[in-house]
Amino acid sequence: MELVNMLGSSETNKKNIWAIQSGKGGVGKTFVTSSLALTLSKLRYSVLVIDLDLSGANIHTALGLNPSHLNLRHYLEGAKDISQIIIPTSYPKLSYVQGIWDSWIPFNFNEFDEQKFIRDLRSLDFDYILIDFGVGSFEKYFNLYLECDEKILVSSPEPTSIEKNYRFIESYICQNLKSKSTPEAFGKLISTLRDFRHKSLDKPFSFKTYLKENEGLTLEPFNKLNREPIKLILNGIRSQSVADLGYSIKSVCNKYYGLHIEYVGFLEFDNSVWQSVKNREPVLISQPFTPVAGQFLNICKNLTEPEVLRAVI
């Protein structure tokens, strides 16, 4: 009875476009995207993976597939419909859209109609659509990123990666505020932030109080960010104490930015991963019982049925 209700509700709510992003490159974004997709497909959801990584589309390699000549460029240049560039894979219920793989002529992203793209995505019949945003493509497709239902941030536990996460979060907050505030007020906010960074303010800065106290800014976009928190995944964990870094990052975001983020899980460092990558085989297929597979399952459950998990605790 419970199960039927749960499945019913997951179909009716439209929370099914996931954006996977990271502050820093090389933290395993592509690996996480492909593995989440495989895990979801094993959970019998139909899944579409879209490779939007400009710096090098290689989801196909992570999935152990040969690159297809049909790719996003055909759609973006208007030669094909979105449904025509979806390539089925040998894994049940999993399809993918090849990123722009040829680098001979750069695509002019000013012509990219994000609203049309998201409309087309919503018209597709998939339970989940995962978009792998490359590093730096976040600013380029900011509106697309905003439209995504789940925003997943992948990070490694290295200080460099964590630092870049904070820069990403700051830029994310500011981009959100920019569209909803007057240019003067926004400019003032930025200069206040700059002062704060240089430690010339004596009291701690809080977005929330600043937004309340200053005119021309609204609290609403900020509240929206808190209602739909960014989901954090830590990748490449070598010990439990390192896994707890996720809670630390969450706490810092809360105390410093007043921003609520959610820590949905970690992925341990696993030798089977690089071995499988070397063989161009997804680790979840070649070694389905490796610990990382269980951790992906855990993360997927956290993301798809959070209320069910909370009841278990």
């Binding site: 200080p159 104490s241 870094l245 809670y247 630390s248 969450k250 706490s251």
Partner: protein, 203 residues
């Protein structure tokens, strides 16, 4: 920044006690030591301040009684003064609830009797009778003695009457005798040794 203790530990006000402990432990690891999650955000000084706020919050919320008082003030209907939510005021309120019964340990006065003092210092074999005599000489009632040394008056009477059937195992009796002797200003070790010798014979 004035936040309540729940906000400091990033908890809901209905959090279970074990969640509070977990949150505290996580917060503590986050803001103490070289945590890579804070180094570009908070300075050492700020981290220390946060840490002391976290400790304060946990010392209230981690204790059920103190948390109860805090909850009543924080979540109550009436508007509450911020001063009533501070660590010190909560602690004071709890002291009012659990007033420690003040024991009047002031020495009672007694009339000094040189002859009896000499008898005490010469006494080599201590019995219950002798203990009782000294106690009465020093003007201390059984009830008063019981209150001071926290030994049941019944036991004190039994020690003075030397009735082992009314007493626990000898090792405890010895402890009681030491306490009594100390309070009566006697050489507790000598008294206990000699009392226990005769106590063993009665037994």
């Amino acid at each position: 920044m004035k936040s309540n203790f729940y906000e400091i530990l990033e908890l809901n006000t209905n959090a279970a006690q074990h969640e509070i402990t977990t949150a505290y432990e996580r917060a503590k690891t986050t803001y103490s030591g070289d945590n890579p999650a804070i180094y570009t955000i908070f300075s050492d000084q700020e981290a220390r301040e946060l840490l002391s706020m976290i400790e304060e919050a946990y010392s209230i919320l981690g204790n059920k009684t103190l948390r109860n008082i805090y909850d009543q003030r924080l979540l109550g209907q009436s508007k509450i003064n911020p001063e009533d939510l501070t660590y010190d005021s909560i602690l004071n309120a709890s002291r009012l609830i659990f007033q420690e019964s003040k024991v009047d340990t002031k020495k009672t006065s007694f009339v000094r009797n040189e002859g009896f003092e000499k008898e005490i210092s010469d006494c080599a074999s201590w019995t219950g009778d002798m203990l009782k005599k000294v106690r009465e000489y020093k003007n201390i009632t059984v009830e008063k003695l019981s209150e001071i040394i926290k030994v049941n008056a019944f036991y004190i009477k039994a020690i003075e009457a030397v009735t082992p059937n009314n007493l626990p195992a000898p090792v405890f009796v010895r402890g009681y005798v030491i306490q009594i002797a100390k309070e009566l200003g006697l050489n507790s070790k000598a008294v206990a040794d000699s009392y226990m010798k005769s106590f063993g014979k009665v037994n």
